[in-house]
């Protein structure tokens, strides 16, 4: 069952393209990675999806409801951690959480669990909080009433590695409960670690949408080889690169052919490895650049 669905979602800021013709779907109970460097359109997608920005084309549905007609109802079941946000500095952490609890009109079933994970000085004024502490508060407010979907825009920014790890564990626990998470990030390792499926966005347009493992297997293997002869002599596939005397190229299903081809040379070093998410990401971003 798709809990988030966009069909040709488009947002232009006047003449400037934010996102164009974005079609994707997020299934219930998955952690969906949304990957792209800064400025690729991740935040524009999320803000359009949640009604902060008015779309200029296409449609979007969350839990089967159109974002045009039911955005307020949708938000009853959706938590959101914005990429850049601020919290009222004059309030204490507790006052902030009380205020936000009152706005959600539901029981805060996860609040105690979250406060155990993210140990915050709740009686201190927020203006005395570090960036990481404010981020924790953002995470707590998004999850505290245990919504069906949580949309996160680079949620681990400002968290130390230990807290990041605790957060990933918490996300996996939520996933097991059938909750859905839309996880936008530009940090490949965390997407690789926690996400089930992945969309890659480039210049406002979707360039890949796949299960991470499928994407990796489809991407084939990366061969890095050093030969005694001049590397230029080796006639490899089109995307061949010579880096620091090593020949590098990607192979998909023709591994036998290239190994036989390489056997004609004197190999001094060889490394064959699966494509990492980083390699895939760089591959998409190197095309046309």
């Amino acid at each position: 069952m798709n809990v988030i669905e966009t069909k040709g979602l488009t947002k232009y800021y006047g003449e400037i393209k934010g996102i164009k013709d974005l079609t994707l779907s997020v299934e219930k109970g998955e952690i969906f990675g949304f990957l792209g460097p800064n400025g690729a359109g991740k935040t524009t997608t999320i803000r359009t999806l949640l009604g902060y920005l008015n779309k200029t084309g296409g449609d979007a549905y969350i839990l089967g409801q159109s974002i045009d007609e039911n955005i307020v109802d949708i938000k009853k079941e959706v938590g959101y951690i914005p990429g850049e946000f601020n919290v009222y500095g004059h309030l204490t952490g507790r006052q902030f959480l009380d205020f936000f609890s009152s706005l959600r009109h539901r029981e805060m079933t996860l609040l105690d669990d979250l406060l155990e994970i993210f140990d915050l000085p709740l009686d201190r004024r927020i203006k005395g909080y570090s960036k990481g502490m404010k981020q924790m508060l953002g995470i707590i407010q998004a999850f505290m009433d245990d919504p069906d979907i949580v949309i996160m825009d680079e949620p681990t920014s400002g968290l130390d590695p230990l807290l990041q790890q605790k957060f990933y564990t918490f996300l996996n626990k939520q996933k097991k409960k059938g909750k859905t998470m839309f996880f936008s990030s530009h940090i490949l390792s965390e997407v690789d670690k926690i996400c089930d499926r992945l969309a890659i966005i480039k210049e406002g347009e979707l360039v890949a949408l796949e299960n991470i493992d499928t994407l990796k297997s489809k991407s084939g293997k990366k061969i890095r080889v050093k030969i005694k002869e001049k590397p230029e002599k080796f006639k490899g596939p089109k995307d061949i690169k010579i880096v620091q005397g090593y020949i590098e190229f990607r192979i998909t299903n023709d591994i036998d052919k290239w190994i036989k081809e390489l056997s004609k040379y004197t190999i001094t070093d060889i490394e064959i490895k699966d494509f990492s998410l980083e390699d895939i990401f760089i591959h998409y971003y190197e095309v046309d650049t």
Binding site: Y13, T43, R47, L50, G51, Y52, L53, N54, V72, D73, K75, K76, V78, G79, Y80, P82, G83, E84, F85, N86, V87, Y88, H90, F99, F100, S102, L103, R104, H105, G138, Q141, A142
Partner: protein, 270 residues
């Protein structure tokens, strides 16, 4: 409870502005006491000016009330209401209202507020409601300060008329609030909004003055909200300009609706 009726944002807005409310309330209370208490010191001088026609030149600028500046009601109206309530208090209230949404956008606190199941219209409406207590508290504390000082200096003033005056001030200050909120949803920089609001209040005063002074430009006074208060008649005679009150209420409602609709369609960028 239904979120529309809970007014959580309004309550929070009131709490956020409580310190400011207390400070302004104190300042205006003291100012009201000082100005009304000053009257006995000026009375003889003003009587002499009135007798010699020295107040006449002021009438074209401040209206007919200037001719009665030697009376307590005339003095109170010109010194307290005309300057400090109609202009200065409107600027202060407008300044705060004009930053009420824009500062949330500028400081990026709006992002988390909007992540909750609350419509944008409701946010604007609750911001307005949240600022109302500030207006009422300052308005009536000023009135009480005038009452106490009037009794202390032994001057006579019809307290029913005084109360009516402060009732009429409510729709005027509400109209100022809603115009401030409209400016606040249009622009994202709070300082820009507040400066535009100050400009608006000053321009309004200038319009009314020009309308009073130059007969060929009399029509411009209709563009000024101050024209519709007609406080001197209320304070002196207890005569309320009902049409004026209706205009002020209509301005409040229409401006607030425009602000709600505008904010509903506004892109909240980072």
């Amino acid at each position: 409870m239904n979120s529309i009726l809970s007014f959580k944002i309004a309550i929070q807005t009131f709490k956020d502005n409580l310190k400011t409310t207390i400070i302004i309330m104190g300042l205006f209370g003291i100012m009201a006491a000082v100005y009304s208490g000053m009257f006995p010191s000026f009375k003889d001088m003003l009587d002499q000016m009135a007798a010699s026609g020295g107040l006449d030149p002021f009438s074209s600028f401040f209206g007919m009330a200037a001719l009665e500046m030697n009376t307590y009601v005339g003095f109170l109206y010109l010194e307290m209401y005309q300057i400090f309530i109609i202009i200065i208090l409107a600027i202060v209230i407008g300044f705060i209202a004009a930053s009420i949404v824009s500062k949330e956008i500028e400081l990026k606190t709006i992002d988390l507020i909007m992540s909750n199941p609350i419509s944008r219209k409701q946010i604007v409406f609750e911001k307005f409601i949240g600022l109302l207590p500030m207006v009422l508290i300052i308005n009536f504390v000023t009135m009480i300060a005038i009452m106490i000082t009037t009794s202390a200096i032994g001057e006579s003033l019809d307290f029913n008329n005084l109360f009516l005056t402060h009732l009429v001030l409510i729709p005027y200050l509400m109209a100022i609030l809603s115009i401030g909120i409209l400016i606040s949803v249009i622009y994202d920089e709070k300082m820009k909004c507040s400066i535009i609001m100050i400009g608006f209040v000053v321009a309004m005063y200038i319009y009314q003055t020009i309308g009073q002074m130059i007969s060929s430009f009399e029509f411009v006074k209709y563009f000024s909200l101050t024209y519709y208060t007609n406080l001197y008649n209320v304070l002196k005679l207890g005569k309320v300009n009902i049409e004026g009150v209706i205009v002020l209420c209509a301005v409040t409602i229409v401006t607030l609706i425009i602000a709600m609709i505008y904010f509903e369609h506004k892109d909240i960028k980072i």
